[in-house]
């Protein structure tokens, strides 16, 4: 079987998470394979964001395990997750408007040299790396040293995405990356996701409300409802109508879930 040859990058095993009496995630298991884009869909409150926050190290699961590249991991913080190769792009783009593009690209990973106990920023080195990354994205910047808050929407988007182009190693989590964007910028983002994937062969999880986008770039679609995974489909073997019915719960599919998964990973 080919399925055995493809390596699992991320394995989520029986993960549960409660907030007080609210069950946000209930026994969720999920595999992401090498060089694969998984679309994670579901209605509001289905548990997608909770899952992403666990995967990006914002908080730990109550129960269950995470494996990255076959090794069991506990993310102590977002920076811990980043150091282990998981990069996240947040829906609000999470930029510091008061800083320039270069500073934003390097938030939390500033290039420094120790001098008399002070960690001195290596600005020239960061400028060089930033020029390279922003060049690859292909957006024009009048000046990379202008404050991000004075930039256009597309330029800000490019800076936010620059982080994953530059730092994404094993797994990139895209949490509604197009939620706040116009049509043109959205197209740009989807192109960039496809391009990055081709160049780096990195796996991704894409959360989106827009099924059209999911169908455009995901290889496999995972549907969540009420904190549980209720279905997995290969993009080539499903259609938007079926996914919508899974999201809303119009069809009950749990009985043949196991079969679905084996089919889903040829």
């Amino acid at each position: 079987m080919d399925a055995i040859e493809k390596k699992i990058v991320l394995k989520v095993e029986n993960v549960s998470k409660n907030f007080g009496s609210v069950v946000a995630l209930n026994d969720v298991s999920l595999d992401v394979y090498e060089d694969e884009v998984v679309g994670l869909v579901g209605d509001n409150g289905a548990g997608k964001s909770t899952l992403i926050k666990i995967l990006s190290g914002v908080f730990p699961p109550d129960k269950g395990n995470l494996y990255l590249g076959g090794k069991k991991v506990h993310f102590k913080s977002p920076s811990d997750a980043q150091n282990k190769g998981v990069e996240t792009v947040y829906q609000d783009l999470a930029l510091c408007g008061n800083l320039d593009a270069v500073a934003n690209l390097f938030i939390g990973r500033e290039v420094c040299r120790n001098f008399l106990g002070l960690e001195i920023l290596q600005k020239a080195e960061m400028d060089k790396q930033a020029a390279d990354v922003l060049g690859r994205i292909g957006t024009n910047f009048p000046s990379v040293h202008e404050q991000v808050e004075y930039m256009s929407g597309g330029q800000r988007q490019a800076v936010a995405l620059g982080r994953f182009v530059a730092w994404g190693q094993k797994l990139i989590l895209l949490d509604e990356p197009t939620a706040a964007l116009g049509v043109r910028e959205t197209g740009h983002v989807l192109d960039l996701v496809a391009k990055t994937r081709k160049e780096k062969g990195v796996s991704m999880i894409l959360i989106s409300h827009n099924l059209q986008h999911v169908f455009q770039i995901a290889d496999r679609i995972v549907v969540m409802r009420h904190g549980e995974v209720v279905g997995e489909r290969l993009r080539s073997q499903t259609n938007p109508d079926e996914i919508v019915s899974l999201i809303t719960g119009a069809v009950l599919v749990s009985q043949d879930l196991k079969e679905e998964i084996t089919i889903a990973n040829p």
């Binding site: 977002p78 947040y90 408007g97 008061n98 800083l99 938030i107 002070l118």
Partner: protein, 323 residues
């Protein structure tokens, strides 16, 4: 495009407004006020800005990181009375005097402790820094009065006062010290990871956390630094006034805040630099000096200062409207 250009010019003007106001005011005072134009008076203006100057560094660091520290004034007052008390005439009339440098160390330690208490309430109990430091501002002032029974200490040894009494080119050493502080702290703010993290946290604390910045660690260090700078200011006050009273540094808070805001540090965090703040500090001191020379009622000072702060805040929000 022309619109874009004029916006840029306007932005530049607003970012450097403090220096424009300072130059205009000094020229105006120099022309209209007899006795204002003299090297001695200019030195005096800078000399009298030292305390506010050092406190303004502390408040700027806190504000750029997104927190207000109102307690600097009473921490400075506490530092002044404690260092005068330890190193001055005698402790409990025992005849024993603490070495001035040991006194400084103790005062810095107290400042660090008070700063970490502020940080504890802000970070662990998640209380707004304004409310926390407003409380400690009042409490620390109260403790100073309580401990001393309202009594001041005067007559400090020369070994304590050299930082004020020794002059280089007719300028007291503490003036040089203030400028060295500005140089060093501006460098740290702009060129080190710690300084960069302060700006990131002030700009977007969620992004800072998500991207792996140790938000709590940085804020803790900023509050400790603020307390130590305030304690150090107290030590300088004791040296200058040859002693201290429990009300030393009274009224410094408002003047410091005014200098910091006019100097371009935004109340919303993440914006400003010490190169502007030093301008604000000297501006406040110049106005002080003019009012002194003219022997105008001190109450006018308050009106002028208050109006300046208001203007600065309006300019700050204009800047944000222009985005």
């Amino acid at each position: 495009m022309r619109d874009h250009g004029s916006k840029k010019i306007f932005r530049w003007v607003i970012n450097n407004i403090v220096w424009i106001i300072l130059i205009v005011i000094i020229v105006m005072f120099s022309i209209t006020i007899p006795g204002f134009v003299s090297v001695g008076n200019y030195i005096n203006i800078v000399y009298h800005s030292v305390f506010i100057g050092v406190l303004a560094i502390a408040v700027s660091y806190c504000l750029i990181g997104g927190n207000l520290d109102l307690s600097v004034e009473s921490m400075a007052g506490f530092g002044a009375i404690v260092s005068a008390w330890l190193c001055g005439s005698s402790i409990f009339a025992s005849g024993y005097q603490v070495n001035p440098y040991l006194g400084l160390l103790i005062v810095l330690g107290i400042g660090a402790l008070l700063g970490s208490i502020n940080a504890f309430f802000v970070l662990k109990l998640n209380i707004n820094a304004f409310l926390v430091t407003l409380s400690t501002y009042i409490i620390v002032r109260g403790i100073a009065v309580l401990l001393t029974g309202g009594q001041g200490v005067s007559r400090l040894p020369d070994s304590f006062r050299w930082i004020d009494t020794i002059r280089l080119l007719d300028i007291p050493l503490m003036v040089y010290l203030m400028f060295i502080f500005y140089f060093v702290f501006q460098f740290v703010l702009r060129n080190t990871r710690f300084g960069r993290h302060i700006y990131i946290i002030g700009g977007n604390p969620t992004a800072a956390y998500n991207f792996g910045v140790n938000v709590k660690g940085v804020i803790l260090r900023v509050f400790i630094l603020s307390g130590m700078l305030a304690g150090f200011t107290g030590w300088l006050i004791a040296a200058r006034t040859n002693g201290a009273t429990p009300t030393s540094a009274n009224g410094f808070l408002f003047e410091t805040l005014a200098a910091v805001i006019i100097g371009g540090v935004s109340m919303t965090g993440g914006v400003g630099s010490l190169t502007g703040v030093i301008g604000g500090v000297i501006l406040m001191s110049s106005i002080h000096s003019a009012i002194n020379i003219l022997a105008i009622s001190p109450f006018v000072t308050e009106v002028v200062r208050g109006s300046l702060v208001l203007i600065a805040i309006v300019l700050d929000s204009l800047k944000r409207l222009l985005k």
